[in-house]
Symmetry: C2
Subunit: 346 residues, 2 copies
């Protein structure tokens, strides 16, 4: 097969991390691209999404998706432009959402894996297909609707609330008439939550009296805790839950780097089970694709809310593929302020 | 008000237990009964139900029902005969299910609290209103149906399986075409599960290699774990759960005597949350009255299954009110073999 003239720059998994990932876990490579075969499409990736779930893909072992193999391109969703198409559904110049675009400048994918064209000048803009109008937004929408089951007048708590999942949860719950307490790290994010997203209370989890502030912010207790961080926020939420509270669990980012680590006692698991019984709690894990049947409705509704300005979003853009590893490492520490993306323009 | 000639023998809560209850936590009293007032009914309790939830009522503090006050009659459901009625719905000689009959020979209750007459010679017999055809059976029925959501071909695990909840869960799941692994303590109970209830595998949780035996008994993993004991059975189940497994939590009897006790580490709660996410588990606490809308259907269906012999049950009868405290203490240790009742005949 003759080589195409294009050189693909890509980042592969060089080694599995122990705890926090480091730069040494990644390797930047330049490799010539083969030509796309029948039914395939050659993509120029424009934007790469960085997401907490990627930490899980770097580990071996059982999870909801297989790990990235050593030496393979890191997985990631992209917004991409079609450079060459051997598939009847796509033409050069089309913009698409590429579920398996990967951490690379170019990708060759089967046209059948691309089911969403994007308008490069549309509203909402194409980058939202990686955030509020894509997987993170849908995670918020589906988890809240199917597990959180919010009722007007109830109280919802969500952490990582300046990130794309948390911010969408907070705003959807406000639209539905809930009291919303949103948590983030640092005064700038807290100000954003209060002033831009207009939640009822915004709290900094780094403040020394965080647990007391949370208690004061939920005078009627907590009916829905949307769990996307774990760790000390979860610990502070537990004693404040109301009977019949719902806990959709879509992430425990605080523990992603600590898998397999042995934590000091006491063992709180038996008391948690006992609390689940006494308070008739529902704790349910999910990932967004479990609710894929709702996706068309989500795209339609969220597109409308975004155009109307009823749902707002914020993007945090890292420039250049070579900075993607640091972008992910920082994301896992919570240093993003909004949906973290990597711009892959030349 | 003139005293009635009847002396009521009753057992009151004398002191709150520390850990396991002892005889000193109870006191037998004899008190003259007042006459029933307008709308009231004087009952002669015939059978008293002993149930694990009673341990919770002996503690102060937050639970799904208020505690029994010191000096008050211990709560309990009874099957009773009407001695005297000032309520139009009942006449002397009627048999009834008394939700608040209590640990006593007699009770005066509002007729409006009695909504189920029993046939003393009927099939199923009236004592089943305290077990398989009452609260424990309904706990099994509702939790399995609403949370367990069993599908034919799946695998279900249940412990305390010779008791009224566990035995009913096991048999209902068999009727629905599941592979059923039932757990109990001691060879006699295990033989009963295998030979009488005809489960697919029956295991003794006291055997030293219990966890390995459980693993071998669930070659396709566990889809439903009906949690009614907690402790080491739960620990052995955790690594064997399938993705999307459901865990209805109706009791954690292994920890009832240990509330507030600090357990040695490691702290397994963060890993449990992570597992809930990775495997998309549903963990939900309930008590049977949360599903009260299903009760009429339960009474009809279960009555039919019992008459047809499709659901079997076993009773473990303690003789005499004075033996009720030891009956409960033993129940919490798992020394009952079937539904524990106290016969209150003269």
């Amino acid at each position: 097969m003759p080589a195409s003239p294009i050189v693909n720059r890509r980042i592969v998994l060089a080694a599995r991390p122990q705890g926090e990932p480091t730069a040494a876990n990644f390797r930047l490579e330049e490799v010539p691209l083969p030509l796309p075969g029948p039914g395939q499409v050659l993509l120029r990736n424009r934007m790469l999404s960085l997401d907490p779930y990627m930490r899980g893909r770097m580990d071996e072992g059982r999870s909801y998706a297989p790990p990235v193999a050593l030496g393979e391109v890191m997985e990631g969703r992209t917004v991409a432009e079609v450079l060459e198409s051997h598939h009847p559904g796509f033409a050069r110049g089309d913009w698409v959402f590429a579920p398996a675009g990967g951490w690379q400048t170019h990708a060759i994918v089967d046209g059948g894996t691309l089911n969403r064209k994007l308008d490069p000048n549309g509203q909402p803009p194409p980058s939202t297909a990686l955030g509020v109008h894509g997987m993170p937004g849908f995670t918020a929408y589906a988890g809240l609707r199917e597990i959180g089951r919010p009722q007007a007048g109830e109280t919802l708590v969500v952490a990582a609330a300046s990130g794309p999942v948390g911010a969408t949860v907070a705003q959807l719950a406000k639209l539905q008439g809930l009291r919303v307490v949103a948590i983030a790290g640092g005064p700038e994010k807290v100000r954003y939550l209060r002033e831009e997203l207009q939640v009822d209370a915004a709290l900094d989890h780094r403040s020394g009296d965080f647990a007391e502030r949370l208690r004061a912010a939920v005078p009627d207790g907590i009916d829905v805790y949307f769990e996307n961080v774990g760790g000390k926020v979860f610990d502070a939420v537990l004693p404040l839950l109301n009977d019949f509270a719902r806990i959709p669990v879509c992430g425990t980012i605080a523990t992603y780097n600590a898998r397999g680590e042995v934590r000091p006692g006491p063992d709180r698991l038996p008391d948690f089970l006992s609390q689940i019984l006494r308070q008739r709690l529902t704790v349910r894990g999910f990932i967004q694709r479990d609710f894929v049947r709702l996706y068309p409705e989500f795209l339609r509704e969220m597109g409308q809310w975004l155009r109307e300005g009823r749902i707002r979003y914020r993007e945090d853009v890292v420039e250049g593929l070579e900075n993607a590893p640091q972008g992910l490492i920082g994301l896992l520490r919570g240093d993003n302020f909004g949906k973290r993306l990597v711009r892959l323009d030349d």
